[in-house]
């Protein structure tokens, strides 16, 4: 048991740090939830990709560096410590890419991944529907067979960044009458600018068009954009959710950097005695999450799989993130009410944490039933 990094890992850290120091924009980019911010972030993704820092854990042939999870964690720590911009490509990178590594064809990987790595194609996740949120398997949008492909119809919603993104991936019902709702679904990729697609941006809590609803009317998708076998979409979508996603959806680097910023704010504001304990908890929580993730990464590298344990991460970081931001807003005093600060933007974003990526209620069910072995109850 150790926490020491090898000389090779330290060298990697130094290389990443030096590159970031030289390249991270001096002033923050505009919010990526706006059109101009989106464009600016694409430029940043391209810059990252040019020196192969955009997807360090991917194989080199797709633009990565083929590094293991420990180096990936190191990179993330440096990335956020350097104050580098949020990742506009994260839905594709965290959700679609692992799925393609596990279930995609060589052709799909070769076609999709390099453009994803450079930010040329930004992906949106089209899973939720108006009537299918937590109960995702109840989704009703359809994929109907046609010559050489499929026709998609129906409505998707809450699709992050779809207002400005290029393509989307999601589940569609391809066989209407199956005994269980999880059966007969097909996982497909489609173009957000294809004929038949209407994208309607939805203002988030702060009004920014951070997500969108998608109306699909007989949108043609060729066979080569089916991921895995038709009808097996549920299995394909779920198989990648547990393992790496539990580690990579929210890296500890982000929270370590946020705790650092909070600590600095606390000191700048006079080290308020009243908020001392909450600041300490933020520092401790970031450390706990880092070490928890190190332990998971170690297990992963030992060949163990990390399944329902990822639900522990999800609830932890989402609640942590809110507590940290609430503390920051309190420290700011009357300025805590201002909408145009980084802290305010972070706060608004943190509020969604317990809702997206599977609500915390659903995660707690998973923890209770699959980790603690409690009996299944009524849903």
């Amino acid at each position: 048991m150790d926490l020491d990094f090898t000389p090779g890992q330290e060298a990697f850290r130094a290389e990443a740090r030096a590159w970031l120091r030289a390249h991270v924009p001096a002033s923050p980019l505009p919010s990526l939830e706006t059109e101009e911010g989106f464009a600016a972030h694409r430029v940043w993704e391209a810059q990252l990709a040019a020196d192969r820092w955009s997807v360090v854990s991917w194989p080199e042939e797709y633009g990565g560096r083929g590094v293991d999870l420990v180096r990936w964690l190191v990179f993330e720590e440096e990335y956020y410590a350097a104050g580098a911009p949020g990742r506009v490509g994260q839905n594709g990178i965290n959700l679609l890419a692992p799925t393609l590594f596990d279930h995609g064809t060589r052709e799909q990987r070769a076609r999709v991944l390099p453009e994803m790595a450079t930010g040329e194609v930004v992906w949106a996740q089209a899973w939720s529907e108006p009537e299918a949120g937590s109960d995702l398997a109840s989704l009703t949008s359809r994929a109907v067979r046609t010559d050489g492909g499929w026709l998609l119809s129906g409505q998707k919603t809450w699709s992050s960044r779809a207002a400005f993104a290029d393509r989307a991936f999601g589940l569609f019902r391809s066989e209407p009458d199956t005994p269980r709702p999880q059966q007969g679904l097909t996982y497909l990729m489609f173009d957000l600018r294809a004929p038949g697609v209407t994208v309607r941006p939805i203002g988030r809590l702060d009004g920014r068009p951070a997500f969108a609803e998608l109306f699909l009317d007989e949108v043609f998708v060729p066979d080569e954009d089916v991921i895995g076998e038709p009808g097996q979409g549920w299995r394909v979508a779920m198989s990648t959710a547990g393992n790496e996603r539990g580690l990579t959806l929210r890296s500890p680097g982000r929270f370590l950097a946020a705790a650092d910023r909070l600590l600095n704010l606390w000191r700048e504001q006079g080290s308020s005695e009243a908020l001392r304990d909450r600041v300490a908890d933020a520092v401790i929580g970031a450390r706990a999450y880092q070490l928890f993730t190190y332990a998971n990464a170690s297990r992963f590298l030992d060949g163990e799989s990390i399944g329902p344990e990822s639900s522990l991460n999800k609830v932890f970081w989402s609640e942590y993130d809110i507590a940290l931001h609430e503390t920051a807003l309190e420290l700011l005093g009357e300025d805590g009410e201002l909408a145009d600060t980084d802290w305010a933007e972070g706060y608004v974003f943190s509020l969604a944490g317990p809702i997206y990526a599977g609500t915390n209620e659903i995660q707690r069910d998973i923890i209770a039933e699959r980790l603690l072995g409690l009996p299944k109850g009524r849903r």
């Binding site: 048991m1 150790d2 926490l3 020491d4 990094f5 090898t6 890992q9 420990v70 190191v74 720590e77 410590a81 370590l256 705790a259 650092d260 600590l263 600095n264 001392r276 304990d277 600041v279 300490a280 908890d281 520092v283 401790i284 929580g285 970031a286 450390r287 706990a288 999450y289 880092q290 070490l291 928890f292 190190y294 332990a295 990464a297 170690s298 297990r299 590298l301 030992d302 522990l312 609830v315 932890f316 209620e361 995660q363 707690r364 069910d365 923890i367 209770a368 039933e369 980790l371 603690l372 072995g373 409690l374 009996p375 299944k376 109850g377 009524r378």
Partner: protein, 323 residues
């Protein structure tokens, strides 16, 4: 970087767990609480025989060398089984006795389990001062060997923790005891013990809610019950790496972070455990109480939550810790 227990460390935990399970610790705890120490002393000898106290004693003094990770692993198991006695205090005493003359004189008996130690600042409660054979207390003059307990044993909220004050005076052992160092070891051991207490409370409660039925179904199938247990699980699983990480670095800040987090997680789990057991959980007869009361007591000892949080912030000179 391989932040996972080694197979030998895991095997050590498993063997302690098996030994303590076989030893029927609950009845030893109950007699200890009544001031009958024979069974507890026997248990103590077995714990020492497994090398637990020797992990806080250098090899030169018949210990196994200072091995905080193994110590933490062991204390999780001691907490899991609610082992009574001045366990943490004996570790703290070992950490106070670093001066070679003192170490030579007093440490071998602590390592072997022949001696039980208690340790407390002068004027504070010392745990089990009536049964400890090495009583350390310190004030502005330094560290002393207290001549005996002063006054009656006071009952703690945890009946297994018997509180005494120590008589003032006694032999001056050293004018400059390594107090900060000892506090770090004591906090680490307490954090690990608390984690074990919390894990035991969770295990027992999960088992209980799987069996107890109301409204025709196990109460564990109700979401309101599940979610409380899920929260306890989250709190404990995030305390665990802090405890092990602190054992690796042994910095004051990391150990304080582990102490406050593990104790809060255990305490929160205790509240949940009590609630989900209903009235039976509120009885002294039912064994759950042995852990419930300990979770509360450990929270305050060797630095309460506020003190530990302050130590975390004091320990960070620059920003928060990265790696």
């Amino acid at each position: 970087m391989r932040f996972l227990l080694d197979p030998e460390q895991r095997a050590f935990a498993d063997s302690l767990n098996a030994m303590l399970t076989a030893a029927d610790t609950p009845s030893a705890v109950r007699s200890w609480s009544r001031g009958e120490h024979a069974r507890g002393r026997a248990l103590w000898r077995r714990v020492a025989g497994a090398g637990v106290f020797a992990l806080a004693v250098p090899e030169a003094y018949e210990g196994l060398g200072l091995r905080p990770i193994e110590l933490a692993v062991a204390f999780v198991e001691l907490g899991r089984h609610a082992v009574p006695g001045p366990l943490v205090e004996t570790v703290a005493a070992a950490a106070l006795l670093t001066e070679p003359g003192l170490a030579k004189r007093l440490l071998p008996a602590l390592a072997s389990g022949e001696a039980l130690a208690t340790a407390a600042p002068a004027g504070s409660y010392a745990l089990d001062g009536d049964v400890a054979t090495t009583r350390l207390s310190w004030d502005g003059d330094g560290l002393r060997l207290a001549p005996g307990p002063d006054g009656p044993v006071r009952a703690s909220l945890d009946p297994a923790r018997r509180l005494t004050r120590l008589l003032p005076g006694g032999e001056l052992l050293t004018a400059e005891p390594p107090l900060a160092h000892a506090l770090t070891w004591a906090r680490l051991a307490t954090a690990a013990q608390a984690l074990g207490v919390g894990l035991a409370l969770l295990d027992r409660t999960v088992e209980y809610v799987g069996q107890r039925t109301q409204f025709g179904v196990p109460i564990g199938s109700f979401q309101a019950v599940k979610h409380q247990l899920a929260d306890a699980k989250i709190a404990l699983e995030f305390a665990r790496p802090l405890v092990l990480g602190a054992a690796l670095t042994m910095t004051e800040a990391d150990v304080a972070a582990a102490k406050v987090t593990a104790c809060e997680a255990a305490y929160r789990t205790a509240r949940t455990a009590l609630q989900l057991h209903g009235a039976i959980g509120y009885t002294a007869e039912y064994d759950l109480s042995l852990w419930l009361t300990k979770a509360r007591a450990l929270r305050g000892t060797w630095g309460g939550p506020g003190e530990c949080r302050a130590a975390v912030l004091d320990g960070l000179s620059g920003g928060a810790r990265r790696s």
